[in-house]
Subunit: 496 residues, 2 copies
């Protein structure tokens, strides 16, 4: 135990003096300002995962983000050729299509979260591969470096600190941000449904409101009770519809039994400015509306003007009081992507047919943060998991080939043939609508002809498709077990 | 959808005016003050779970608390005789013996939490039975009423409100509080291990520190890295020892593989003023120390004097720097119990042989909050799950018999025979020490002779004993599945 005695001793002699880390504003400042700031306060560390790679080391691929795109890429990258450094504020991938199910206890939170170390074990085992819990604040394309800041939320004794990581190849897969179209109060009072902690928050609010609405007291009028138990979903895309379906399922099956005193007070309303599930076949949309209405979901056509702590206000002046408000009106570019000084495509990082950022060397962008430049003649692809996943898979292949041809090192791949360009083939859309029913639309696009179906058989396809897609065997197993136990024992309602 | 149109309409005309609830200090004020406060601001509501029961209704048992004692009582109470109203700040029971395992991902959090509605379904189904999410602030023994305040943490739009609940029989099972012996900073910087959210906090801190210690930067010196990854446990009772064992298991098996870059920096230290596991057989204690030392746990004999954000200071002046600090030095009376104006036994609510609070009518106390009065000639029982559980079981039987004899209503049981007095028979103690090893001490007391054993066979007994004790089949099933998957796939390390 010599380390221990030394440790204790050392500390007794001279308590560690932490250098106060420079404080950075939360929203990334302009890049120039940032770079100046960094160069004045930061000394390049000698960490094996951050200094430029040397001749006898593997070249380093730095991946920003742990979503569908980044994780699929890391899974497929050949770790005999490259070291991987992943930088992200979260150490797991979220299996987003199943997130709505966790809010009401159909699935456990852990079942839909896959740790990076399980997706790519090299990250925790190889001496040159790392995962850094941090946000990327800017990229110095000239010097092949990314500038980052650690995420220390939850540790009182550490201020966030800045550090730089040198890359041979950089893959930006940092995703998009939930968009609120600048509507006042939305970010403050509504909950998104993109991360596991969002689902946890929705679940806690829902169960808390269910319990509180049952407690005696003069404060709680009948209207107030109805308000507390009114779940309002803004946005009629797949996420909003799936959440409404799960919620009405939960109300029909579990609230009736386990909160029978307040069962007549709980309701679900879906607010959408246009059509729900606009990308789906018309027949499927009609079916979905019919089924969800049958399950008790109210549809309101309207544009939200203002969000207040207890109600939303529509453009036509209608007030809709709520107890739980979920916001899923799509995504837009993140402030990090906005701050990057590269050509954009619809606000996203502009890429060519090989997913490269053509204005700079050795940089690629995939997933929701990227879009084809006009010069490619291709349209910007929708922000879908399957697009991101396909791009990650494709790019891993490209990088592996480049590495094998000796172009892995920084500035060494100019002139190399990258092989065939990326082509996206839409495999169809799926959405569940509760009550063991789902929609499956296998058409290539909204105009194309093709198979579309709805009902229990689709539900079965939907569940099987997801079961085989959840990445690790551990989580496949857990999702299956969760579904079976929900079927047998009902949903879990403990509020922990 | 007429409710919806009325609802929306109503709200448009006159937005609900919430009456601001009276603000109460967080620590319960003196009872007299409280009663005056209540009577001036609170009108008795007409809620079917709170007004005094009428002749055609079932008598009402009010249970304060959802620990081992209260839950076992509620499980066994005959709901054909009584309505149950349970008042607690948490809607589930925590299976405390397995809580330490959830911190490192051996078990899922949900597997150790059992919702009250599953323990006693009548609470969510019977028209006169309820669960109220609230703290009890005081008891008006004269008028057979408890005074409560809702727990609204997590709802921004509702102030906590006060309400009264009338009882026919009152069972106080509100438990004890973690004690810190008045040591400065302990409550502020250490984490207890008594609730699911404690385990979640420890887990989050541990995984965060593991990840941060791997990030490059000048801030992170070698000592600082050692500090971040130094887990210090204060208190060598079963909880502290089990947690240390689980933690060293986690380090040996999972950190080595999944955080191999920092595996040499993580250590566990157990600080105890006296002997560890003082209630166990000496042979078992020696065995435990040997095994835990082999797993890498450091033992420090000392008394903590001061807790600071980054270190604890012992009486002899030694500093022990820490990254995660877990506090498990036993329990003491809660401020609610202290505020009750009834005779006490060692700070706890004084009870007689039938677990009654003899100075008042129709009031019982069980579990950690109660202790035998000197007049009974019995000693105050230890604060153990098995004591609480046995008392809950016994009291349910007594109350069922009283109810059958027509004494269920308030003030109607005087002179009734309560049957045999409560006798506690110690079934032995068990504790796991990691590495598939456990201690089982089947002796009646420290001085008695009897079987005690240690090793894998005890581990097997320990796991089986717990599997059959976890209350619902759903959780038995999940605990089993969790154990199997941990064995096959390793522990889960996603930080969600």
């Amino acid at each position: 135990m010599s380390w221990f005695r030394n440790f204790i001793h050392l500390v007794k002699q001279s308590p560690p003096q932490r250098k106060p880390a420079a404080l950075l504003a939360h929203s990334p400042p302009s890049l120039t300002l940032l770079l100046r700031h960094f160069s004045s306060t930061q000394i390049q560390s000698n960490h094996p995962g951050s200094r430029p790679t040397k001749g006898d080391e593997k070249p380093r691929v730095v991946v920003l983000g742990t979503g569908w795109a980044g994780c699929r890429l890391m899974k497929d990258i050949d770790t005999n050729i490259y070291d991987i450094v992943c930088i992200s504020p979260r150490n797991h991938m979220v299996f987003t299509p199943l997130l709505a199910s966790t809010c009401v206890g159909t699935l456990e939170f852990r079942s839909v979260a896959e740790p990076i170390g399980r997706i790519q074990p090299a990250i925790s085992r190889e001496p040159g591969s790392f995962f850094f819990l941090a946000n990327c604040m800017g990229v110095d394309f000239q010097n092949h470096q990314v500038h980052c800041q650690t995420v220390t939320e939850g540790v009182n004794t550490l201020e966030p600190w800045n550090f730089k990581v040198a890359y041979d190849k950089l893959v930006i897969a940092s995703g998009a941000e939930a968009s609120t179209f600048g509507i006042k109060g939305a970010r403050e009072y509504a909950t998104f449904l993109r991360e596991v902690y969002h689902a946890q928050e929705i679940r806690r609010k829902l169960l808390l409101n269910l319990m509180l609405s049952d407690v005696p007291g003069m404060t709680l009028t009948e209207e107030e009770k109805r308000r507390l138990l009114h779940c309002v979903v803004v946005g009629g895309g797949p996420t909003g519809v799936e959440f409404s379906g799960e919620l009405s399922d939960f109300i029909k099956k579990d609230v009736q039994q386990r909160y029978s005193h307040v069962k007549d007070y709980i309701h679900v309303t879906l607010v959408e400015a246009n059509e729900i599930l606009s990308s789906f076949d018309d027949r499927l949309r009609v079916y979905a509306i019919k089924q969800l209405t049958k399950s008790g979901v109210n549809f309101v056509r309207g544009i939200v003007k203002d969000v207040q702590p207890e109600k939303i206000i529509l453009n036509d002046g209608t007030d809709i009081p709520y107890g739980v408000l979920v916001w899923s009106t799509g995504v837009g570019p993140s402030s990090f992507v906005k701050s990057l000084e590269v050509p954009k495509a619809g606000g996203r990082i502009g890429i060519d047919e090989w997913l490269r950022v053509p204005s700079v060397q050795d940089v690629f962008a995939i997933g929701d943060c990227s879009g084809f430049l006009e010069s490619t003649g291709k349209t910007v692809l929708p922000a879908l998991a399957q697009v991101a996943e396909r791009q990650g898979k494709y790019l891993a292949q490209v990088l592996n080939n480049v590495g094998k041809s000796g172009g892995g090192r920084a500035n060494s791949a100019t002139g190399l043939d990258l092989g065939e360009a990326f082509v996206y083939k839409h495999l169809g859309s799926m959405a569940t609508i509760g009550r063991y029913k789902a929609l499956v639309d296998l058409r290539q696009s909204k105009e194309a002809k093709g198979v579309s179906m709805a009902g229990f058989s689709s539900f079965f396809i939907w569940r099987s498709a997801y079961l085989t897609r959840v990445i690790s065997w551990r989580n496949r197993f857990y999702v299956f077990i969760n579904w079976v136990t929900t079927l047998v024992f009902g949903r879990d309602i403990s509020r922990i």
